[in-house]
């Protein structure tokens, strides 16, 4: 059992929140701005050359008889289509419309079709094509995994992205995408088959 309080013999339906232990993220988090969705004012020169934040992935919950040694492999396998989506949809430049196939390659066909319709949220398409650069200031994924009798069936990924689009004149548009992705296995490959995402924009 990998969570501290909810796995101590309680196998009844959970009526309340579980307080889980979080294993270290897969990568060291890069410095990121404080979470905020309210407009912020510019207090100094914009640092246009800052690097993208690393992808942080943690397994928050894994029950159902899965061996502890499987955690690292599971974390890598589940996060693979998520990382591909983030990179292609938000990181690969100012116009993701040119490469939506890559953005949704790790999604089931139906989910990919829906996500294309919602591209203003599921990609950085809303920023437009005229950006000089896109910087990802935070990309965090928290995994909640379902398994029974040692067999993994699916997972919810809580996702937090903070993205900055830099315009040629130097101004910067920031937005965040937060919510959940739903994933299952197709053999050993994990796929995103659903989502519930929200986008909020900041101006500076």
């Amino acid at each position: 059992m990998l969570t501290a309080s909810a796995c101590t013999g309680n196998d009844d339906f959970p009526a309340g929140p579980e307080r889980g232990t979080t294993e270290p993220a897969a990568t060291s988090p890069a410095p990121s701005p404080a979470p905020s969705t309210t407009p912020v004012s510019t207090v100094g020169p914009i640092e246009l050359s800052r690097a993208d934040a690393e992808l942080e992935v943690s397994i928050e919950q894994l029950r159902g008889g899965v061996d502890r040694t499987e955690r690292a492999r599971l974390r890598a396998a589940i996060s693979e289509p998520i990382a591909r989506w983030i990179n292609a949809a938000f990181r690969s430049g100012g116009d993701p419309n040119s490469d939506l196939d890559a953005a949704f390659a790790g999604w089931t066909p139906r989910a990919a079709a829906l996500a294309r319709e919602h591209r203003d949220v599921t990609t950085n398409a809303a920023l437009g094509a005229n950006l000089s650069r896109v910087i990802i200031d935070m990309r965090r994924v928290r995994l909640f995994v379902f398994a029974t009798d040692g067999v993994v069936g699916g997972a919810t990924a809580g996702v937090t992205l903070r993205v900055a689009g830099v315009h040629p004149a130097g101004s910067e548009t920031r937005f965040s995408v937060e919510g959940e992705l739903y994933l299952t296995r197709d053999g050993s490959q994990w796929q995103i088959f659903g989502y519930s995402l929200q986008r909020q924009q900041e101006q500076r």
Partner: protein, 288 residues
């Protein structure tokens, strides 16, 4: 059909590592499993009347709810089928529909429901008395509307919204006497409990990881021929339904007698009309 049945019954072998099953979830033949392309899913939810020591899936089904879920517009409909409905049970002749599970398990009940409604369920879910109590208590109770004053099974309920504990929910689903519509009103109450349960779960889903924890407990107490992947997808699909868009319906009919037993003769014209409305989209456009 027989393959699915054998699979499920084959799993009901005592397993020291698992508690006794309190639920069964059977995927019937004719579907390839749930995927994102299924716009409408039909599930037959059965409440088994099994007493301690009796087989859950070979006892009478005293709650029979055919539930349609539209994964596109997030509507759903519950169609209550009075347990005394006098129907054809393939291979066993005419009898009350609640006897079908005794004759041929959940699949016989599904067959009888299909013969009556012309809707073939994709899944059959069977809950025992302890299973229902566990489920309701586990989610912290279920809120549903009481229409009539009810008294029975050591419980009393009064008109208005009520927060049901597990034991209360079981009584609410079983009490018939005193209800002006008898079996029909009881079927309505069962549908209200289902709708209330969905609303409760939808509220709980805001807690990160709740879905996975609840599904894990459900799997532990359930015999099923669904793989963990299929179970996860089905659960996620059910949770796409908007509780505010669930319509509770009951098949109408008239009471009468058959072989000295009090039975319900379904209003076939009304049944056909309701089915024509909901079969393809699980969305009620007319009154029900």
């Amino acid at each position: 059909m027989s393959v699915a049945l054998l699979t499920v019954l084959g799993v009901v072998v005592p397993d020291a590592s698992r508690p006794p099953p309190e639920f069964a979830l059977v995927q019937l033949d004719g579907v390839e499993g749930l995927d994102a392309t299924d716009d409408v899913i039909w599930m037959l939810a059965l409440g088994s009347d099994a007493r301690p020591g009796e087989p859950v899936m070979r006892s009478r089904s005293d709650a029979i709810q055919l539930v349609g879920m539209n994964t596109v517009n997030h509507h759903a409909v519950t169609i209550g089928i009075p347990r005394d409905s006098y129907v054809d049970i393939r291979g066993f002749g005419r009898d009350k529909i609640n006897a079908a599970m005794v004759y041929g398990g959940p699949e016989a009940t599904a067959g009888a429901v299909t013969a009556l409604t012309d809707i073939k369920p994709d899944y059959v879910f069977v809950a025992s008395f302890p299973g229902l109590i566990r489920m309701v208590n586990g989610v912290g109770g279920v809120r549903a509307e009481v229409t009539y004053k009810m008294d029975g099974l050591n419980q009393a309920f009064y008109p208005g919204p009520h927060q049901f504990s597990g034991v209360e929910a079981l009584a609410f689903a079983r009490i018939r006497y005193g209800l002006p519509g008898g079996d029909f009103d009881r079927s309505m109450d069962q549908g209200e409990l289902l709708a209330g349960g969905l609303a409760t779960l939808a509220g709980r889903m805001r807690q990160p990881g709740y879905f996975e924890r609840a599904l894990g407990v459900f799997a532990r107490y359930t015999d099923t021929n669904l793989s963990p992947v299929e179970l996860y997808r089905l659960g996620r699909t059910v949770m796409t339904i908007d509780p505010a868009q669930v319509r509770v319906c009951v098949l109408t009919g008239r009471t009468g007698y058959a072989g000295g037993a009090s039975v319900v003769f379904a209003d076939l014209a009304a049944t056909r009309s309701l089915v024509a409305d909901v079969r393809n989209d699980a969305t009620v456009d007319q009154t029900c």
